[in-house]
């Protein structure tokens, strides 16, 4: 053998780390800042809110925004800013709880049917067809209607419908990854199916699912507040953006800020998740 001078091919400059790459993406960083701050508001609402969100002051009903009440007060004289801030707890919780179970179930089911195909895959195909022919919201409302309104039932409803979208994405990605020889190599090496699925295929297949998860969290907040608005999700006097918008609806001409402010909170949080999702699509790609 003649080659004793094997060296790895590498650019003379050291490749930037993932964190460095992330810092170079302004959109992604804005997303991280928005969601980071939203999380702080959600965890420590009392620290940021100037008043108790449920303190009723009949002497200060429906006041316009002022220095004392930057977002004004509602029909019971509660401070609107404090209510929007306290709603962060519920709405951020929604983003997580309405999606993580769907994500977990979807990833596992998608990986399994993608790997094994066969009968399970055919049945899965039918289930997917059946579920995605109905509009998402209609289906969720139907499930809530059966279970009854409330936050917990809403999470269950969204999970029951939502896992299908994750599973479908995961299945397609696993099948694509199966075309790579490293999967065949695992089979030839005699590795167990579980090892091949969870150790080899899953980490390579999950990137688009994570990206979708970010957008889905934004959608979960939108969906959760829609249900709250319709009276099917969070129940008053719980401070929740959908509930707040519904409460302000009757005074839209006289006290428009009551509905506008929670609406803006929804848009900004949704934007934050989407920006993170876009950035992750690039950052999570394997190098090379």
């Amino acid at each position: 053998m003649t080659d004793s001078t094997v060296t790895t091919v590498k650019a003379s400059k050291v490749a930037p780390s993932r964190v460095q790459l992330a810092l170079r993406k302004p959109g992604f960083m804005i997303g991280v800042i928005i969601i980071g701050f939203s999380t702080l508001l959600a965890v420590f609402p009392s620290f940021f809110a100037p008043y108790d969100p449920n303190f009723i002051d009949y002497l200060a009903v429906r006041q316009a925004p002022s220095w004392a009440h930057p977002f004004g007060t509602d029909m019971l004289g509660r401070d609107a800013l404090s209510r929007v801030i306290h709603a962060y707890s519920v709405n951020m919780q929604m983003a997580v709880l309405a999606t993580v179970f769907a994500l977990t179930i979807g990833v596992v089911v998608g990986a399994l049917v993608g790997y094994y195909r066969g009968v399970a895959d055919m049945i899965f195909g039918r289930v997917v067809d059946a579920i995605i022919t109905f509009p998402f919201l209609v289906l969720v409302i139907a499930v809530v209607a059966v279970l009854g309104p409330g936050l917990i039932n809403m999470y269950i409803a969204i999970t029951v419908v939502g896992w299908v979208y994750y599973a479908r994405l995961m299945r397609a990605e696993v099948i694509a990854q199966m075309g790579n020889d490293y999967a065949s190599a695992g089979i030839v090496m005699g590795y167990s199916d579980r090892r091949i699925i969870f150790r080899h295929l899953l980490p390579n297949a999950i990137t688009p699912v994570i990206v979708y998860w970010m957008t889905d969290m934004a959608l979960a907040i939108l969906l959760g507040s829609s249900l709250g608005y319709l009276g099917l999700g969070a129940q008053p006097p719980q401070a929740e953006w959908g509930v707040l918008i519904a409460e302000g609806r009757n005074f839209i001409t006289t006290a428009w800020w009551l509905s506008l402010m929670p609406g803006i909170a929804i848009v900004i949080t949704g934007l934050g998740f989407s920006l993170i999702g876009d950035g992750l699509a690039d950052l999570l790609r394997p190098r090379g």
Binding site: M1, T2, D3, S4, T5, V6, T7, V9, K10, A11, S12, K13
Partner: protein, 329 residues
């Protein structure tokens, strides 16, 4: 080298930038080509063969910096505007790309793709275009050409698709064909057919060909002259017979020796030690020095220039291998 060169490439340099570093993909490539001649371009992956072709046709300047001169029948191509180049591309100079499978549009019939080329580059009428399309398919050896005009690329096999690519490239009777590994993806049997076809057409239409390949056997069988590239530079060029029989540059010799031919079976093959340098960090002197057994101190500090060492024969090496009487031929 040639009496009336149709293509003269002089000191062609192409640089890409990656972040804030410059990547010298092609450096000081010069050669000329006469009518009906076939020039080979060989070298390892990443040595700059494809970039050279793309620079000649003015494609590389869209994403890199191209310097030097490319004269096509006396006209300078590097300073032409896109509009001027468009008149030459496809009509006078055609190109076949490395990936035959992806260069045909899957949504258009083969006939449409052929006649569109003719429409763009000739004044033929509708009927004449169709006739010419059939004639071209026939020419490249596709049986029952008339009936296959309406078929889509996926209905053709790999070899057939490459023939269609050649038919499209040659439809407007170009004077120069730039072929980037036209047969690398194909089997030896189909490779033989395609190379025969290119040679036949070069001869009949007195068309010049620049053929990029990394198969030395293909060079031996099809080219008149050859340039060997290493790390973006031509290290040796001349008539195929001379270069392959008596390589004068240590790298060419290494390449020739690593082909398993005329060595006892199941013995260790020769291989050039080490790996090609990264273009980001080229050595100061001769780029081949870290892998060269003939290297001296001079090789590490100064870069050897491409110099005439025999009529029509150049090499870039301070210590070229000895010549034999063969070389005089």
């Amino acid at each position: 080298m040639t009496d009336h060169p149709i293509l003269e490439v002089e000191n062609l340099c192409t640089t890409f930038s990656r972040g804030d570093t410059a990547l010298p993909a092609v450096r000081d490539v010069s050669f000329s080509l006469g009518k009906g001649q076939v020039q080979g371009l060989v070298g390892e992956s990443g040595s700059g063969k494809s970039v050279t072709l793309r620079s000649i046709l003015g494609l590389a300047r869209h994403y890199g910096e191209v310097r030097g001169s490319v004269r096509w029948q006396g006209q300078e191509l590097t300073t032409m505007t896109e509009r001027q180049l468009r008149k030459i591309r496809g009509r006078e100079i055609a190109m076949i790309f490395q990936e035959p499978m992806t260069s045909l549009n899957p949504l258009l019939t083969v006939g449409t793709q052929l006649t569109e080329t003719l429409k763009a580059h000739t004044d033929l009428g509708r009927k004449a275009r169709r006739d010419r399309a059939i004639e071209m398919l026939d020419h490249v050896g596709i049986p029952a050409a008339a009936s296959r005009l309406g078929e889509y690329p996926h209905q053709f096999s790999g070899g057939m698709r490459q023939r269609v690519m050649i038919a499209i490239a040659l439809a407007a009777s170009p004077k120069l064909l730039l072929a980037d590994e036209p047969t690398t993806a194909l089997d030896v049997t189909i490779q033989a057919q395609i190379l025969d076809l290119i040679l036949k057409l070069a001869d009949e239409m007195s068309m010049g060909v620049v053929l990029v390949t990394h198969d030395l056997g293909v060079v031996a069988q099809t080219c008149d002259t050859v340039a060997v590239m290493y790390a973006g530079r031509v290290v040796e060029q001349g008539y195929v017979r001379q270069v392959l029989r008596t390589p004068r540059h240590p790298y060419t010799e290494g390449l020739m020796r690593s082909v398993p031919q005329d060595v006892p079976p199941r013995t260790q093959l020769y291989s050039v030690p080490g790996t090609p340098p990264s273009l980001f960090s080229l050595p100061d002197g001769c780029a081949f020095a870290p892998r060269c057994q003939a290297a001296s101190e001079a090789c590490g500090s100064a870069r050897p220039m491409l110099q005439d060492i025999a009529p029509g024969r150049q090499t870039a090496c301070f210590h070229p291998l000895p010549a034999t009487q063969d070389d005089a031929a």
